[in-house]
Symmetry: D2
Subunit: 293 residues, 4 copies
């Protein structure tokens, strides 16, 4: 009975590069803030089995490559930067059959001074983070964009009832609860997109608007509605996957203190929390291949 | 040789209360999101020495009190809510000589739907957090407001040179570096303030503007300038304390790759980091008493 | 072109239950500390598409079930507890086709008093965490055990050279470096195991011993050797997957200070870090089915 | 009305140095793992007010100094290493009037191979961290040792009743509860100690034993008993300050499921939590000066 090496990959994780573009004629600086994680797949069995590293691109070299490519002007959107990096690794090294580059982008706004945006001083926006994951294998590329840490809450328009009952059920049904979640959304494109930034802003706005306006009978329903709205309005996207924890806000019982809580005072709990995950896709969406990792 | 009890305090930490105000005629909800930490000082030695808890207000009761007081309409600003709570504990319990209430407030903005703010759907702003610390003892009260997690960066207008040199010095002098920090600022008021929110917004704007526009020869100089500007323009404030880590952004040496880095590609380091702390105050500022804890 | 619901699941995450067993004749208490996350798969499309929750077992009920089942005496090992829970959900609810229960177990040791273990006072061991993931579908069950946060370092017996070189390579080859990592290991069993605890302790010891004694030419080689050793010595295990970040320790250049660093003073970096992942398995291992999630 | 600079300090925080001692004849390596934070006080007003940095020792130089001093053989205990560093800064730079060096030490044990400790492979102990804070001013030095992240729990021998009651009280009295906390303890010495490691191990054992054996009527009583026991048995210590959060474990009500919870199934809550802080000291303890910061 033989023991063998199974699936494996490696790479440099969380190289944090900040790129300032000072080349604009007007003198205003531009900033990009990328945390880049690389994972390479390929023919690395000799390193695993015999310590022969001839096929291994050191993770230190991967980090250097991130910094060198960040010098490109313009550095471009996260999807474009990731694509250049991923193509480099599969193109440069025969042993590398697949490269995945995952980028977390932190956004910055300009500090406002006397009513006008300052040319080189910035304030971090957040907690929201923009995501891009590019996978290259041979001549093919798959691109996923996304957002994480988008924290939302609605104080009306959310119900939860009619669920399955068993002997462990104690939850009362409700037609008025707080619905709060931290959206992690990732969406797959049909190919490349002319303007990644415009697409991202549009998807983000659709997610927020649908969360706000859809009358919710369950977080599952809200999740699906958010994904469906994105696909209905953005033809460049073929699939979206959403993870939305149910951040419980429990109405506090104030009756022991002689007070009536008219659904206005809530305890915001940390753990445990519900975790809802789902994909929404076009029936004719192309095979995702290795896009999702 | 006798062993004695020294300084001591206790309380409930991090009660996370969310208050929705649904009472507005227009139907728009308002949200307040407070994480409240209480610390009581007083005559608790019998509990420490003998397990006699007759002077102990259970931390569970403190939590209940936070929720009960959150029912007040309006709940008010963090400073006002903290003041009501702190006064309650020193007024209600003879053994409680001092009450300190520290509040971290998370801000929410309204989700924009078709160009208009939604009446009951919210997006968390951040990472910035608003702070308020109220201390009551007898009839006196001290109020400190503040901000944390205000992340800023400037890509020009920062130099660092002329520093002390010894045999462990390797840092090159520079007349062009990135200056990045995470501002923690806390400021003490002369008394109560008619409009806490207006005051907070103004201080925050002054801190940001001064960071942006002051030409920096050291982070120490920037810190002082930020504090000085607040005191010059806000008469209600008598002292401000700032903690500003130097979040190093190191220019990457791209010469090994045949590239010239024109001060545009940076490695954003995590640790170690510089830590700069300082107070700026009016010479005639009243004694802070127990305000700073 | 139609939009459809894709893969989806939901459940209660991170229910933290502590079970004290006071039933032993000898009077010594036993403690189990489980953080339980549940994910159910099945026929939930009506909730997603129409807000019809009749097939939804509320996550609140799932939490209640965890607490109720924790009353069982004995509660058993994490694998056994997870198996009872997972079987319950697929057995009780026709709409639930698959249940996955993931448990993080925190271990406690007894506090030593006058040389002897105390019967009911405990000290948390750590940072190491024991993992168990049980997946049930129909009558089938798959069980994965694991460990996370196992932090190890060797100060000799690690080299790295002979790797691929390109124009972005600056890393010097070395025949003496610190090798440090945080082992995340998860292993799949052929079926159930008579004594889960004994098996866990044995696997953990093999991982540690192999890390210590194998002369390392790359972290990839070390990873494979660790996995291979587990499979060689534990017939109940058919596959092991390891994730091992390369926690870089850089030798500090002390020559500017007139000192020679004889490979003894290191800067322990946080980010970026190498990330090495790989599976080792028996060629005849059964299909994993949904075991890995 | 004049605006002035108040108290200020600065320094390099969290330099993470790992020192391997390879000089032992027997071939066994020794490891020390220190995260070092430095704060300097002194005459830095010209930097704050005018950007004149001539009195500023760059934090980069402080980092270099940590690494250079780590080359000393032996590096010594954290208290000794901190004392050498703090003395250096006040001795070398006239503008530096006070230096505080705070060290967090992570402990490592040797990996056991075939029943014997391995000479150069290590497993991180934890989550417990050893602390040392050394403050130097002029020729004087103050040394505080400590421990953090010492997580303990007792499942018997803890009661809580007889506390103050008001209209917000809902907590039931109990004569049998879980008592769990995360000890942060810091203790001040009369001078230097011949064997810091022996002293630390002894204090740690006394804290644990007293927590285990003292019958607790309140966490306040337990805190005082722990501090008192340290002072009674360790003459080199004059004061100890303890911070002990009450990590609530709530008995779960299983009656809705037809089960009786015999105080054996608990929900371990995260927030809010009680926070108990207190000092225990000798009546004749010398003035602490700047020891506590």
């Amino acid at each position: 009975m033989s023991i063998v090496l199974g699936g494996n990959q490696y790479g440099k994780a969380e190289t944090h590069v900040v790129r300032i573009n000072k080349s604009e004629a007007a003198g205003a600086h531009e900033i990009r803030d990328f945390t880049v994680s690389i994972a390479l797949g390929g023919d690395f069995s000799r390193s695993h089995l015999a310590g022969d590293n001839s096929n291994i691109v050191p993770t230190d070299t991967q980090k250097n490559t991130v910094f060198a490519f960040a010098q490109d002007t313009p550095i471009g959107e996260a999807e474009e930067f990731g694509l250049r990096l991923a193509r480099h690794f599969v193109g440069e090294f025969a042993a590398v059959h697949r490269a995945r580059v995952h980028i977390q982008e932190q956004s910055w706004s300009r500090i406002i001074v006397e009513g006008r945006p300052h040319p080189h001083a910035f304030l971090r926006k957040g907690p929201e983070i923009k995501l891009a994951t590019v996978t290259c294998a041979g001549d093919s590329a798959w691109i996923i964009s996304g957002v994480s840490d988008l924290v939302v809450l609605k104080s009306a328009g959310s119900e939860f009832h009619g669920y399955a009952i068993d002997r462990y059920t104690t939850l009362p049904e409700t037609d008025d609860r707080i619905l709060a979640t931290v959206v992690l959304g990732r969406w797959r494109h049909r190919g490349t997109v002319p303007n990644w930034h415009e697409s991202y802003d549009a998807v983000r706005a659709i997610l927020l608007e649908t969360f706000a306006t859809q009358h919710s009978l369950s977080l599952q329903q809200t999740l699906y509605a958010m994904g469906e709205a994105v696909l209905q309005r953005r033809p460049e996207i073929v699939e979206i996957r959403l993870t939305m924890p149910n951040k419980h806000h429990f109405e506090v019982d104030l009756r022991p203190f002689g007070l009536e809580n008219r659904n206005e005072v809530f305890y915001a709990a940390d753990r445990p929390y519900g975790q809802i995950e789902g994909a929404v896709l076009r029936e004719d969406s192309p095979d995702p291949g290795p896009a999702w990792g």
